[in-house]
Symmetry: C2
Subunit: 351 residues, 2 copies
Amino acid sequence: MTAGRLDILREWMVAQNLDAFVVSSAANVRYLTGFSGEGMLVVDQGVTLCTDGRYTVQAAQEAPWVDVAADGGGHIANVAARLMDDGVARTGFEADVLSYSSYQKLVQQTKGIELVATCGIVREHRACKDRDEIALIRRAASIADDAFATLRAELQPGISEREAALELHHLMVRGGADRCSFETIIAAGPNGAKPHAQPGPRELAEGDLVVVDWGARVEGYCSDCTRTIAIGAPDERRREVWRAVWEAQQAALALAGPGVACRAVDAAARELLAERDLAEHFGHGVGHGVGLEVHEKPTLSASSEDELRPGMVVTIEPGVYIEGWGGVRLEELILITEAGSEALTHAGYDL
Amino acid sequence: MTAGRLDILREWMVAQNLDAFVVSSAANVRYLTGFSGEGMLVVDQGVTLCTDGRYTVQAAQEAPWVDVAADGGGHIANVAARLMDDGVARTGFEADVLSYSSYQKLVQQTKGIELVATCGIVREHRACKDRDEIALIRRAASIADDAFATLRAELQPGISEREAALELHHLMVRGGADRCSFETIIAAGPNGAKPHAQPGPRELAEGDLVVVDWGARVEGYCSDCTRTIAIGAPDERRREVWRAVWEAQQAALALAGPGVACRAVDAAARELLAERDLAEHFGHGVGHGVGLEVHEKPTLSASSEDELRPGMVVTIEPGVYIEGWGGVRLEELILITEAGSEALTHAGYDL
């Protein structure tokens, strides 16, 4: 599945006059090699995974075509040794991932080698998914949909946020997920005002809005979806806010397609909430890419410079958060196609 | 619970002639403030949490005494603005956490401010736990013990690694854990040769050794424990290797206490395995600190410069991993006391 990805990286390296590239992001290492443990990659004439004794057997299974360097001195020392042994003159590294002190160690241990700071090169490649990746995300999304449908029927007053999150985890793993793609958010009543609330002991109560943000992970690939549901009959204000968020989401979904500026999609949702005097309560961007990481390129926000392209998988998730009152967020995971977009998540929208 | 921790940091800052310190490790931010979301901390005359709109309500709840800066330009921009506004001349930053490109942004946005690279200052403070922290780790370990005792009775041929991991998760959360402290490892038969194996579809089979490495998390604090058990009757070789690892662990446990060099504890286990011709199969350090992170200071390995001190909570976990055959690891979580050490995990050792 990783075939061809190194070729693209190497073409870029030639254009940048780099004879090596050091990959330190775990998701990028996995993308390029299939190896899912901890380690760093040196790409030059060969491909070397610099890791340690905990991962040698795993590396041989997951990426048998890769050289493995697992001497005890640490990953950076293994990277430096390989660069020196291979006579590298000029190497790129991931400046947005490597820590400042790891960079300094690399400088000290690679005397004479020019280190070139780069940002987001492999992440940028990862933004547009290939057929295999889309199939895995589709599967993850489908598992998540099914689990939510079952959970939805079980939610009632008296169940705690934590119990509901546990049940959703159970349903997803039973349904074929390796695990949750992130810690499930189940935020009832006033807790909904925290976009990244952690499920706690609060029990769902009559009249609550409950924000459920969940995803499944399959072979490393994530899904991501949010629904906000009511326990019993919501009051008029809750219906209004929910409706406004839904309309904002529909406006953004309608706009999302190839060639569209990500900030325009954000603006579409934000303008609609502004018309309802709710924009001040929408304190995050409207979406983000999803793949091996649950947050990756592109970024859909007011300040984004990204543009949507076919093969991108992104969320569209406006929200309104009011301290002491609660919150509403609705999130769809979509695939950007040549013609427009396609929803990958299909959970029902009944309040 | 965080009272006093900032005082210790500020004393150190005075000694280093720093008028500010920037904290970017999530665990360090939580340790100093109680805030459990994403953000960076500026400690100078005041304390400012630089975050974004997703976390403002959460920050007000978890750390009400902290100033919050959540302007939209990003965490680094908020940090830089605060340092400039406060007229800081010389600030420390966490060089082992901050990425090289974030460091560069900070340089560009804080003209005239001297940035001093530091490593592990707060992590070092965190190595020795206070009474509240020990109580939480004790609770996490106890929940994990109880869950394992239940699981142990349920394990039999035909259950998959993944199902067993799901059950353990369920039992721990039902038992009061917020969640698992890391992704549970359940590695049956040959999979045991991978120290960090991920639970998969393999079913437990008669004669298998099964490595189970699991932990619970309570209010951010982790437990960590490993047992290796047999399904049915293990053969003579499996009994021998298990016994050798157990003896290596007991040797290390007997040595662990205040004032002892961490590398001596590692050596105690390694020497015993060497006597059994198994040392080449022990490819990782004998242990690590556990707290807000599942791997933290100190490091118990052959190259460690750390020394055990009262209040440290560390694992003792020798292992033997043989490709194609499987593995054995036995891990205890212990508290270093004035007198020696005390086990915090109590799962049975029956093979």
